[in-house]
């Protein structure tokens, strides 16, 4: 309160820091916004409760796996096992929830599996210093095999009420997503969470500064596993059943969403909001192209162009 130079109250640090982080993804936000407007224009039903609910439901699992991938890439890691982990989450949910474990027990089983797989992967990558990309490639076969053992063919069941709650006509998925994002912000506000960036970008320096680098990275893998099996649970609820190969496409899509959102490969670059925007763009694109009446060939071409465009346009602006 005393001097003029310290006029900016010290407590106002958090929000400027947050605002600064938007700079890298502004143009992506604009592109996504344009698509949202186009979607709303093409399909006014979007603004009804159930229209909005369905829209967020189709985005939700992709949003989760994009987060799961992004958190790894922030630490300089990557996972090729996201898809099978989603499948595993789905089959565990579909085989336990309608059974003796019940919904709570099933959800706990799903969560523990995700955390366990993630932590184990993280331990192998971090402590044994093996390249994440091959460890998770090998992991994808192991996890996918486990899903096939639990449910050799699509089946199982999710209690009807849970499906209706998560994937009915109410925007529960959106509320959940908001909650997860808030939890993420909360995590990033913990010392361990904030260390993610330092551990990813400059592990040696971070270690010397007293950051528990290994713990931060293993924790990231565990959280990533949790998000992936969580996405699997949601997919199971959305479809009312389990399918041992349902997640296959999520591996590449999660990477695409994260990279589209400006997450770098070397660690420490990018933001979660970017990854979420990237996943939203991927999801929106499908619906918008449908309403524009694109043929499959046009869908493929347009999809390629949109993805490249969303990344290249900001670059052009930077050059000029």
């Amino acid at each position: 309160m005393s001097t003029v130079s310290s006029a900016r109250p010290a407590g106002a640090l958090y929000w400027p820091v947050q605002a600064r982080r938007n700079i890298g993804v502004r143009s992506l936000f604009l592109v996504v916004l344009a698509f949202l407007i186009a979607y709303g224009f093409l399909f006014p039903g979007l603004f009804s409760a159930s229209g909005f609910a369905k829209f967020t439901q189709s985005w939700f699992p992709l949003a989760l796996v994009a987060m799961a991938q992004a958190i790894l890439m922030l630490t300089g890691g990557i996972s090729l096992a996201i898809g099978p982990t989603v499948s595993l989450g789905a089959v565990i949910a579909a085989t336990t929830m309608a059974g003796p474990l019940g919904v709570t027990g099933g959800a706990a089983a799903v969560a523990l599996t995700g955390l366990g797989i993630g932590a184990a992967t993280g331990f192998i990558v971090v402590r044994l210093r093996l390249p994440a990309i091959v460890v998770t490639l090998a992991g994808s076969f192991i996890i996918g095999g486990a899903a096939l053992l639990i449910l050799p063919r699509p089946g199982g069941a999710i209690p009807e009420w849970l499906s209706d709650l998560l994937a009915g006509d109410t925007p529960t998925a959106f509320v959940l997503l908001v909650a997860i994002v808030l939890l993420w912000k909360l995590y990033l506000a913990t010392p361990l969470g904030l260390s993610l960036y330092a551990a990813g970008e400059n592990p040696v320096g971070a270690y010397r500064s007293g950051v528990p680098v290994d713990a931060a990275r293993v924790a990231a893998y565990a959280i990533s596993g949790l998000l992936s099996t969580g996405a699997g649970l949601f997919v199971a609820a959305q479809t009312g059943s389990g399918d041992p190969v349902i997640g296959a496409a999520f591996t590449l899509n999660s990477i695409a969403a994260a990279v589209l959102g400006g997450i770098g490969f070397l660690g420490g670059q990018g933001t979660m909001r970017g990854a979420l925007a990237g996943s939203l763009l991927l999801s929106l694109m499908i619906s918008v192209m449908f309403f524009l009446g694109f043929t499959p060939v046009a869908q493929y071409v347009a999809q390629g162009l949109i993805i490249i465009g969303a990344v290249a346009i900001p670059q052009f602006r930077k050059v000029q």
Binding site: A10, R20, T190, P191, L194, G205, G268
Partner: protein
């Protein structure tokens, strides 16, 4: 009184090469202790042992007179030991405040307490004269400011022992002044300070006690009382030093090497500049005023515009690095780790890269010729180390020499140098200065961007002082002095002209 932190008879080797042999050092409260030695003498290794970043092969580390069984960075922090490494521990995507608090965030309910962090980080920043908003990502700061963040980060932890590894090598004169004043104050508060620098005048001014390392052996551990700079150099190199700066002689018949009109690039605006053959043209000013963009723009590494330009007789700007190289331009960056070297590649490969860049793409390489060239360059510049090792195993100063050496075989006509002597020991500095003058004498042009003002004064024909993206003053040889450069940099010159 027991020293706050001490090493007793420590040794360390890398891959069987001894780097430190039976070295002892004791840091006393209220004393600024200098650690001197040539590049690769083992100074950084010693502080890594003191701060727990590395473990000694033999000997002990003592805190408050008690031996520590196993020093780790965490233990060191608990003991109040803070190390300023050269922009090594910063994270580009985090804000200044988040970097300063890294590893020691204030917490509330398990969360980072941003208001407490802001308050404490602000206090630390004010000590070192950092006035950028605390929310600025560190990646957006110029090198010198990052160094200040690194120092603020050390102060944030309220250390009892402060270790600084070449803190001033990327700082401008003003920033250096702030730092030396600060250190003096901290010392008077009873903090033990270990100070590494290759700038001997700073050491003379600031320090009370000196430990000198030579090839990993402690050759002196004594009070600085009654020692002069020449004496220090003698301690380091073991013989009488020559003058640091070579005799200045005018070069013969200057011609224009590079000429630009209304040149703009990055922060630089509307620059008219002629660079003559046979001269060393200095570029001075406070850090981050656009000096670097001037060099990069001329070099074709960033987009640049100009009304008219000739470069070594060819019209127009090069517009790209390969073309600039073909026109005889060579550039040595300041941030050697990020822009100069391929740390994971061997020293030989690093030295040969410009050659690889211009040779026909599919011509067969001759490993033997490469080894010989590299060996020749290493001898010429006194680069120590196995040339087949990765460049990251070199000490900082030797890395700098590699970044410079790689251009030598190409006999460039214009050398664009961005702080080439940063972190370089006095002997090597001398060699580099001699090379630069010899270069100019051979009728070539040298553009020397430097944060070391004495360097500009003693080496250059003319110094262009840059301020806010413009050349604020062009000081001719006769008018060159440290005061003139500093006052032009601060804007005094401008006012005089305006008046």
């Amino acid at each position: 009184m027991a020293p706050l932190l001490a090493a007793r008879g420590v040794s360390k080797s890398f891959f069987g090469n001894p780097v430190l042999r039976d070295v002892s050092i004791a840091l006393q409260p209220g004393r600024v202790h200098a650690l001197l030695g040539e590049n690769g003498a083992g100074k950084s290794t010693l502080i890594n042992l003191l701060s727990g970043a590395l473990r000694p092969d033999g000997g002990t580390i003592e805190v408050d007179g008690r031996a520590v069984a196993r020093m780790t960075p965490a233990l060191a922090r608990q003991a109040g030991i803070a190390v300023v490494q050269q922009e090594l521990s910063l994270t580009a995507s985090l804000s200044i405040a988040e970097n300063i608090g890294l590893g020691a965030y204030p917490k509330r309910f398990g969360l980072v307490d941003y208001s407490a962090l802001a308050a404490r980080a602000k206090a630390a920043c004010e000590l070192v004269g950092l006035h950028e908003p605390l929310s600025t990502p560190v990646g957006q700061l110029p090198l010198g400011r990052r160094q200040m963040v690194e120092i603020a980060k050390a102060l944030y932890r309220k250390p009892r022992v402060l270790i600084l590894d070449e803190p001033t090598s990327s700082l401008s004169a003003t920033e250096t002044k702030i730092l030396t004043d600060l250190l003096e104050r901290l010392r008077s508060e009873g903090i033990a300070i270990l100070y590494i620098s290759h700038r001997l005048n700073e050491v003379m001014k600031l320090c009370h006690h000196v430990t000198v390392l030579k090839d990993g052996i402690c050759t002196a551990d004594r009070s600085l009382e009654g020692t002069d700079a020449a004496g220090l150099v003698r301690l380091m190199v073991g013989r009488d030093p020559g003058d640091l700066f070579p005799q200045w002689r005018p070069s013969p018949s200057p011609a224009t090497a590079i000429s630009v009109r209304d040149f703009s690039a990055g922060l630089m605006r509307d620059v008219d500049l002629d660079i003559r053959t046979g001269e060393v043209l200095g570029i001075g000013g406070l850090v981050g005023q656009g000096q670097e963009d001037l060099l990069l723009g001329l070099y074709g590494a960033i987009p640049a515009r100009t009304a008219s330009a000739t470069v070594n007789g060819a019209p127009g700007l090069p517009g790209g690095v390969p073309r600039a190289n073909a026109l005889g331009l060579a550039y040595v960056p300041a941030d050697r780790k990020r822009e100069g070297l391929h740390l994971i590649h061997t020293i030989t490969t690093n030295m040969m890269l410009p050659a690889f860049a211009r040779l026909p793409a599919l011509k067969l390489r001759s490993r033997r010729a490469e080894r010989e060239t590299a060996r020749g360059l290493a001898t010429q510049l006194g680069i120590k180390g196995d040339l087949a090792r990765q460049a990251q195993a070199l000490s900082g100063g030797n890395q700098q020499k590699v970044a410079l050496a790689k251009w030598m075989p190409h006999d460039p006509l214009v050398l664009l140098l961005n702080d080439p002597t940063r972190g370089v020991d006095v002997e090597t500095k001398r060699e580099i200065y001699l090379m630069l003058r010899a270069f100019a004498a051979a009728g070539k042009a040298v553009v020397l961007l430097s944060s070391d003002t004495p360097e500009l004064v003693h080496l250059c024909e003319r110094v262009a002082v840059v301020r806010e993206g413009r050349i604020a003053a062009m000081l001719e040889r006769a008018a060159l002095s440290e005061e003139a450069i500093v006052s032009a940099a601060m804007g005094a010159e401008n006012r005089k002209v305006a008046a």
